[in-house]
């Protein structure tokens, strides 16, 4: 069974080591914070000047001066720090974040990422995406394997405008975990009950498939939240 959006976030959270400094993009990436194992200290960075962002503020307890880059009224964990945008992007572009988890419109076999713009008559707006894609030590993508229309999001070459070239190291989808290794995209893990053939069929580029592909260790649910789609 493919993973739910929360399932993808759960799977990613397992891979963040203790002491990680992580920027989470909007969408599925935002969910990752919920699933961090309690024995690990992981600091969430927010572009607008937070290191150590906590969960959303309880209703009625919002501090009007404290939002994250997503615009949510959040809290701070003990040990959090606050700073201006210049230092925040020193952290990002200077290679200080250990990980960034980003959404994607498309990812290419070589790790090119497109996640900021759908072509056409729209207002363009990039935010911090390009800096994060270029700057984080490891860029991981969290995405559904295909679009709502069933089109592959993992492709030979991106047709959408690029965010950055060759920046993605890993792709976590509802079906699989993939690793970018030079020119190869390697199938690392399968979602429970998903076959290699299903993944290949929904992928728009060739994959390198090892003889044995492990199944992800993702339970059916966690704290009442379904992680596998029914």
């Amino acid at each position: 069974m493919p993973l739910t959006r929360e399932g993808i976030a759960y799977r990613i959270a397992r891979d963040l080591p203790d002491g990680s400094f992580v920027n989470l993009g909007v969408g599925i990436p935002t969910l990752v914070a919920r699933f961090v194992p309690p024995d690990r200290t992981i600091l969430i960075h927010s572009e607008n000047g937070i290191l150590g962002a906590g969960p959303k503020a309880a209703p009625g307890e919002e501090d009007p001066d404290l939002v994250n880059a997503n615009g949510d009224y959040v809290t701070l964990m003990p040990g959090a720090s606050l700073f201006d945008h210049a230092l925040s992007f020193t952290i990002i572009r200077g290679g200080h974040l250990t990980h960034a988890v980003l959404g994607a419109l498309q990812v290419s076999r070589r790790g090119d990422l497109a996640n900021w713009r759908i072509p056409g008559p729209r207002v363009p707006g990039v935010g911090g995406a390009m800096d994060i894609a270029v700057g984080a030590q490891q860029v991981w993508v969290a995405t559904t394997h295909t679009t709502d229309q069933g089109e592959p999001k993992i492709v030979e070459e991106c047709t959408y405008p690029l965010t950055a070239a060759r920046c993605v190291r890993r792709i976590y989808t509802d079906l699989a975990v993939l690793r970018v290794e030079g020119e190869q995209l390697v199938l690392e893990e399968l979602a429970p009950g998903v076959t290699v053939e299903e993944v290949l069929e929904r992928t728009g580029t060739r994959l390198t498939v090892p003889d044995v592909v492990p199944i992800m260790e993702v339970p059916a649910e966690f704290a009442g939240i379904p992680l596998l789609a029914s």
Binding site: N48, N68, L82, A86, F89, V123, G125, V134
Partner: protein, 231 residues
């Protein structure tokens, strides 16, 4: 050396048509909402705004754009759902947009404030935002050349000020404000509270008074109301 002016209207009274104006904030924290509303009452034309978002009706920046006061917006993320005014005007060809990666946006402003002639950033290489920009290979990596970005005015928001214009910020209110304070000819700060000179510890002052020309105090209650409304 008293930088305090009585009202927001007075603080923005000399801004002319065609001025370039930085506005701090990453919304809503750090947006000088009351200065923006005063600016809007000026009914100016042909402004160039340097603001990271797209503006909403509540923060006043969307209102400025809806009024047709803005010729050009230099920004990073004007795409949020509340930014209807910029969306409509852009699609009708009534406003010019210059979109920058957020790190490039703030670094260009910092470069202006720091007297630098420009810098090279790896951000944006190989993307459509690199079009027309010089690419240089430095130590084997490709970088884009970016110029400094100054303005005639900066409207910023801080937490506490003294009469000299020393400023502190709280929570995520800093964002672009301390940087914009370095890069405009006239810097106008809207603050929650005024304290006596010497009432801020030298270590906590984030924007030294050398950068600030005018201070307007808008009591906290009013700020909180506007912030909560704009969600």
């Amino acid at each position: 050396m008293d930088r305090v002016v009585a009202t927001c209207d007075e603080a923005v009274a000399d801004i002319p048509n065609g001025a370039s104006i930085m506005i701090g904030g990453f919304g809503p924290p750090g947006i000088p909402v009351n200065l923006v509303q005063a600016l809007r009452r000026r009914r100016l034309r042909d402004l160039v705004l340097i603001y990271c978002g797209g503006g909403t009706e509540q923060d006043g920046i969307g209102g400025l754009i809806a009024d047709g006061a803005v010729r050009k917006l230099i920004t990073s993320y004007p795409t949020h759902p509340g930014a209807s005014a910029v969306r409509e005007r852009y699609l009708r060809g009534e406003i010019e947009l210059e979109v920058l990666p957020q790190g490039t946006f703030v670094e260009r402003i910092r470069a202006a404030g720091a007297g630098l002639g420009g810098f090279y950033t790896p951000t944006g290489v190989g993307t459509e935002l690199a079009e027309g920009k010089e690419v240089r290979i430095i130590n084997g990596r490709a970088y884009l050349f970016e110029l400094p970005l100054r303005a005639d005015y900066a409207l910023i928001k801080a937490y506490r000020a003294d009469r000299w214009g020393n400023l502190t910020y709280r929570r995520t209110m800093r964002n672009f404000n301390p940087i914009m304070a370095t890069a405009a000819n006239i810097v106008i700060a809207e603050v929650d509270e005024l304290v006596p000179v010497g009432g801020l510890s030298p270590e906590e002052i984030e924007t030294p008074c050398i950068f600030v020309d005018r201070v307007v105090v808008v009591p906290r209650e009013e700020i909180r109301r506007v912030a909560l409304e704009s969600r």
